[in-house]
C-alpha cells in the first residue's frame, strides 16, 4: 500500500449496526482529500476510528508506515494527526490563547517539579509555545480574540479557533470534521483559502468530511463518497458528482 496514510479493510460495528464496512482508501502526502456522503454514511466514524475514539472491529489504519490502529487515544496526536470536531469541542472556560496553547500540549514543557518552580527551561518552553501559537493566530486572523473567553465567541469564530488549535499541534495530517457547517458564505470562502494555505504553505495533508460541495470542489484534490458505511466512489469532485451510485445515494433512487 501507499506510503503516507492508508485505511485498510476497516470495519466498525456497534451490536448489529455496521457503521463502516470494509472501507479502504489511501491519501498521498500534500493532498486535500474530502469524504462526502449522506447523513449516517459513517464519515465521522472514520475520523473517530482514526483518532481512537472507537475501536475498529477489523482492519487497520497506517500512517507513515506505522500501524496506529491500537495506539492510546492521547498518543494519536504525537504521530502528527490532529482533528477538529463536528460539534465544536473547545475549552469553554479558557481564553482563545489558552485553547491554542493547549494545542501545544504534546511538546515538552518541563516536568511537574520544574513547572511548580517555573524553572528557566519551563520559561523557554512557554516562550517557544507562545511564539508558535502567535504564528497560528496571525495565519488565521485571530488576534482580536486572543484574550477573549471562548464561551462568549460567535459560532464562526469558534470554528476558526478549533482549526487554529489543531494547527497549533503542528500536525502532518489534519482531519477536519465538517469545517464549513454553520459558517456564512463569506466565512466559508475564507476557509477555502485557509485550507489552501495549510496545504501549500504549511505542507499539511488534509482529510475533511464536508457537505458543502462548493467548498469540496474548490479545495479538494480527491473525493471519496460513502454511503451506509461503504465507499461507493472515489475520484475528482466532478467525477464523484457524476457517478451514478453517488446520485442514487443522495437522491435515493
Amino acid at each position: 500500500m501507499s506510503g503516507f496514510f492508508a485505511v485498510e479493510h476497516l470495519e466498525l460495528s456497534f451490536g448489529g449496526v455496521h457503521a463502516i464496512r470494509d472501507l479502504s482508501f489511501s491519501v498521498e502526502q500534500g493532498e486535500v482529500f474530502a469524504i462526502i456522503g449522506p447523513n449516517g454514511a459513517g464519515k465521522t466514524s472514520v475520523f473517530n476510528v482514526i483518532t481512537r475514539v472507537f475501536d475498529p472491529s477489523a482492519g487497520r489504519v497506517v500512517f507513515q508506515g506505522n500501524d496506529i490502529t491500537a495506539v492510546a487515544r492521547h498518543q494519536v496526536v504525537n504521530h502528527g494527526i490532529a482533528r477538529t470536531f463536528q460539534n465544536i469541542e473547545l475549552f469553554e472556560g479558557a481564553t482563545v490563547l489558552q485553547n491554542l496553547l493547549l494545542g501545544r500540549h504534546r511538546f515538552p514543557h518541563g516536568n511537574i517539579l520544574a513547572q511548580l518552580c517555573w524553572l528557566p527551561n519551563v520559561r523557554r518552553a512557554e516562550e517557544e509555545s507562545r511564539a508558535r501559537v502567535e504564528d497560528v493566530i496571525e495565519l488565521l486572523d485571530l488576534a482580536p480574540y486572543r484574550n477573549a473567553l471562548v464561551a462568549g465567541l460567535p459560532y464562526g469564530v469558534r470554528k476558526v479557533v478549533e482549526l487554529a488549535r489543531a494547527l497549533a499541534t503542528q500536525p502532518k495530517l489534519l482531519l477536519l470534521d465538517e469545517p464549513a457547517s454553520g459558517l456564512n458564505p463569506e466565512e466559508a470562502r475564507d476557509l477555502a483559502f485557509w485550507i489552501d494555505d495549510i496545504k501549500h504553505d504549511l505542507g499539511i495533508t488534509v482529510i475533511m468530511v464536508e457537505h458543502d460541495m462548493s467548498l469540496v470542489a474548490e479545495a479538494a484534490d480527491r473525493v471519496l463518497c460513502m454511503n451506509m458505511g461503504e465507499a461507493i466512489a472515489t475520484g475528482s469532485a466532478a467525477e464523484v458528482r457524476a457517478h451514478p451510485d453517488v446520485l442514487a445515494a443522495y437522491l435515493g433512487t
Binding site: T44, N48, V53, F85, Q86, N87
Partner: protein, 294 residues
C-alpha cells in the same frame, strides 16, 4: 427453623424496612433529578423537618395521627414546590454543581431553621402501631416495619401507575427526556417541575413520619439523604428500579453488618459497599449506559 437462619431472616426483614425508607427518599431524589437535573441535598432536611412538624401536630396540637400525616405531607409538598418555583428556577441553565450547591445551602438553612424552632433535643411521637408486633413462625415482626414496607410498596406502585398511565405522568416523562421539545408540544414544563418537586417532598414527609418512630425525631435525621444518595449511586443514578434496589440493599447490608461484623461497620457499611460497587460497575448496578456523540 434453626436460630441462625431465624436471626438472618429477622435482620433481613428489619433491613428491608429501613431500606424501604432509603428507597423512598432515593425515589424522591431520582424524580427530582430526572425532571430538573438537580441533586437535591435538601431532601433529607425536608424529611427531618417533616418529622418535627408531625411531632408538633401530634404531640402539641393533639391531632389524630392520620390527619397529622396528611397535613405534614401537604406542608412538605408546599415547601418543595416553593423551593423549585422560587429558588431553583433562578439558576436554571447553570452547571449541575451550582444546583447541587444551592440545595446544599437550602439544606443548611432548613437545618438551622428547624434547630432554632425546636431546639437541639430529640423526641418521639406515638403511632397507631408503636410497640405492637406480629408473630410469623418464629419471627417477631414489629408492626411498624410491616407498615413501612407496605407504605413504600403502595407509594411505589402508585407512582409507577401515575407515571405510566396518567396523561400528567406521561407529560412528566416527556419533559424529563427533552424539556424544550416538551415545552414546544404545549406541556407546561415549569409547573410540572414544581409538581414533581412537590410530589417528592410529600414522599420525603412520609419517609420522615415512618423513620421518626425508629430513629427518634432528631436533627440528625437529615443524614438519611446520604444513605439515599449512596443507594442511588449504587443502583445507577437516574434509574428508578436502581433507586429501589440500592435502597433495599443498603438497608439489609447495614442490618447484617451490625450483627455479624465488628463494631463500627454498621455505620460505614453503606459506603464500603458503595465504593466496592463503583469500582466494579462504574455506572452502578442498573445504570444506563450513555455514550457521548463526538
Amino acid at each position: 427453623m434453626n436460630p441462625q437462619t431465624l436471626q438472618i431472616l429477622q435482620l433481613t426483614l428489619n433491613g428491608i424496612a429501613i431500606g424501604s425508607i432509603y428507597a423512598l427518599v432515593a425515589l424522591g431524589l431520582v424524580m427530582i433529578y430526572k425532571a430538573t437535573e438537580v441533586i437535591n441535598f435538601a431532601h433529607g432536611d425536608i424529611l427531618m423537618g417533616s418529622a418535627f412538624v408531625a411531632w408538633g401536630l401530634i404531640t402539641i396540637a393533639g391531632l389524630p395521627f392520620w390527619l397529622a400525616v396528611i397535613i405534614t405531607m401537604l406542608i412538605a409538598a408546599g415547601i418543595s414546590w416553593l423551593l423549585e418555583a422560587r429558588v431553583m428556577r433562578v439558576i436554571v441553565g447553570q452547571p449541575h454543581f451550582a444546583g447541587a450547591m444551592l440545595t446544599l445551602a437550602i439544606a443548611f438553612m432548613l437545618r438551622g431553621a428547624v434547630s432554632m424552632a425546636f431546639g437541639p433535643s430529640s423526641r418521639t411521637f406515638q403511632t397507631p402501631w408503636s410497640g405492637q408486633s406480629t408473630h410469623v413462625g418464629g419471627l417477631v415482626i414489629a408492626d411498624l416495619n410491616l407498615v413501612i414496607i407496605a407504605a413504600a410498596l403502595i407509594i411505589t406502585a402508585l407512582l409507577f401507575a401515575f407515571l405510566r398511565f396518567s396523561s400528567l405522568g406521561i407529560s412528566i416523562q416527556a419533559a424529563s427526556q427533552n424539556q424544550l421539545a416538551a415545552y414546544l408540544c404545549g406541556i407546561p414544563v415549569k409547573r410540572l417541575n414544581s409538581f414533581v418537586w412537590a410530589m417528592a417532598g410529600a414522599m420525603a414527609a412520609v419517609g420522615g413520619v415512618l423513620l421518626a418512630p425508629i430513629a427518634l425525631v432528631d436533627i440528625g435525621l437529615w443524614f438519611v439523604v446520604l444513605k439515599a444518595l449512596a443507594a442511588l449511586v449504587l443502583g445507577g443514578f437516574g434509574s428508578i428500579p436502581g433507586a429501589i434496589v440500592g435502597g433495599l440493599l443498603i438497608g439489609v447490608v447495614e442490618q447484617l453488618a451490625g450483627v455479624y461484623l465488628p463494631d463500627g461497620f454498621k455505620d460505614v457499611m453503606a459506603y464500603l459497599v458503595l465504593i466496592a460497587v463503583l469500582i466494579l460497575y462504574p455506572r452502578g448496578l442498573l445504570g444506563e449506559a450513555h455514550g457521548r456523540r463526538v
